[in-house]
Symmetry: C2
């Protein structure tokens, strides 16, 4: 009998579910007063779930909008209460300095997106919230760096970038934040309910959890999050160096202090990009079996996503290709 035929209440699935939880706890050094949940509905579902679980306390929350996903999160939050923008959304791809932030007195939580997948903007520090629970969307950089979980109220991440296939969302939540779900919070989004039932109250996406458990084992075998962090540093440094040393043939539009180690957008043929050259770049990359380098449709250009499954060697091949492409198509 295969895993996908099995009952989610079988002892076989129970073992997988428990092992995956235990691996998350171990790999991220999750303190005992945090619960680990596996949910459905993606990161977008979690945007709503967080509000329905936490916002009731004061009816408002603070949002740090630094790109596409935090912007969508703030819009979703407005359904559930008052949303305070801690700073106006930056016009360039950057993170305003904390001394310019306006945190509210009355926020139930402070939300931010630790790594903006589309925009390529990443925090390299933990936002200071003066005791207000901090909620982090780490969908695109979970397990790519060490995290001090104790500084967070909630960390959540869709599995599909770094730790598994789509269909499961990892939620790490501090126990004292459980039990305040709003009246209209669907049971499937009630963190306390999911926690009490060990993430198997209703049928989970068993295959996704199964594969996630295998990926977490793989991360552990590789040397854990420390090794993934080292890889992420090596991969991103290699690529940013190639961009920096390209005489503006390749241009990364992100402010240096907040460049993502994971999603690296750049233009080909100058700061505004040359559409024809970028198409050519993608076409030739595909011939070398380098796929999905196209920037998100909302921002254009090229985007290299250096998730955990991408090796240092993969990035070296990309950089080598970029050098050759520049020699062929760049200014002589």
């Amino acid at each position: 009998m295969s895993l996908i035929e099995m009952s989610h209440r079988s002892k076989e699935y129970e073992a997988i579910n428990n092992s995956a939880q235990q691996l998350v706890r171990e790999l991220l050094d999750v303190p005992p007063n945090y619960k680990i949940l596996f949910m459905q509905g993606g990161g977008l579902g979690c945007f709503s779930a967080i509000c329905m679980n936490l916002m009731g306390r004061t009816g408002e929350a603070d949002y740090l909008v630094t790109g596409t996903w935090s912007s969508i999160a703030a819009k979703e939050a407005a359904k559930y209460g008052k949303v305070n923008m801690v700073f106006p959304r930056p016009e360039t791809r950057s993170i305003p300095h904390p001394r310019t932030w306006k945190l509210s007195e009355n926020a139930s939580f402070v939300f931010y997106c630790d790594n903006e997948t589309v925009d390529g903007v990443e925090f390299n520090y933990v936002p200071e919230t003066r005791g207000v629970p901090l909620v982090a969307d780490m969908s695109s950089n979970i397990m790519t760096k060490k995290v001090d979980v104790s500084k967070y109220g909630i960390i959540f991440a869709g599995a599909q970038k770094n730790i598994g296939p789509s269909g499961v969302v990892l939620v790490i939540v501090r126990e004292d934040l459980l039990g305040n779900a709003s009246k209209y919070c669907p049971t499937v989004f009630d963190f306390a309910h999911i926690s009490k039932n060990n993430s198997v109250h209703h049928t989970p996406t068993t295959f996704s959890v199964y594969v996630m458990e295998k990926v977490l084992q793989w991360i552990k075998r590789c040397g854990g999050v420390d090794k993934m962090a080292q890889n992420s540093y090596d991969k991103s440094t290699t690529l940013y160096n190639a961009i920096t040393n390209s005489n503006n043939f390749y241009v990364c539009p992100i402010e240096e202090s907040c460049r993502s180690r994971i999603n690296i957008p750049f233009r080909v043929g100058g700061a505004n990009g040359d559409d024809a050259l970028e198409s050519k770049f993608l076409e030739e990359a595909e011939k070398l079996r380098m796929y999905q380098l196209k920037g998100h449709r909302s921002v254009g250009g090229i985007r290299a996503s250096l998730y955990n499954a991408t090796s240092v060697e993969d990035v070296k091949l990309l950089v080598q290709f970029m050098e050759e492409f520049r020699k062929q198509h760049g200014p002589k």
Copy 2:
């Protein structure tokens, strides 16, 4: 590149997504004014989603509670508005006659569970609602019989019983019911939003949809829903006959007029069941590689779930085992 590594916006996944939709439309003869959605959050998530999409119109809804799942659905609905119980929950496992039903003047919709998975109670007719949109949970009997979709406002089903693995919910919704989501409806549960974005606005459970598409192809190859209906009739008749002809060694507690063709609960050793005999029954069945015959923990006894993947031959083997078990352990 495997499916689970692929972007849900790739042309490869788009083809799978469209093919699965087309197969549902073809197999269930879905009229053109109905949309086919693939969602997340399971049937339980759908209990909430339905209310947040439809209940706003009048603030109330009618529920036909005939077992475990419709009871949970009614409880979930009470979060979102006034729930009218069309009849008191029956004390025996049966469906009260429609002439005893009290439908409300002001219901936004009438909800029922076409087949109660835990209890083994199934409707063999479509409830008449005098024009009020009818909402059916068909999680455990979708594609096991012909359905006149035009009689429904919404049909939904978690895939994991008859049409695929867990992680995807099929929703068939009449177009005119779209666009009325409540203010606090999460975007991932807004049917209009999912429909407008062809079920790929946010990352779907790609693997589950992929396998579902394969299962739908298989149903088509076998001869479509007609063939599955014939199989369901043959399988359930074979098993019920064995129970009926067992001199009350096997007893099915469900009223005859509403016995499920899909989930068939029975007791071993008389109407109240003999715990020791039932344990023995399960143990010996497992030796013959017949698994998961244990009744749901809330009702006990034995339950044979004859989903589409179970063949007529499988049921013949079960019945053969039951005969032998009775000869060995029944009254001489």
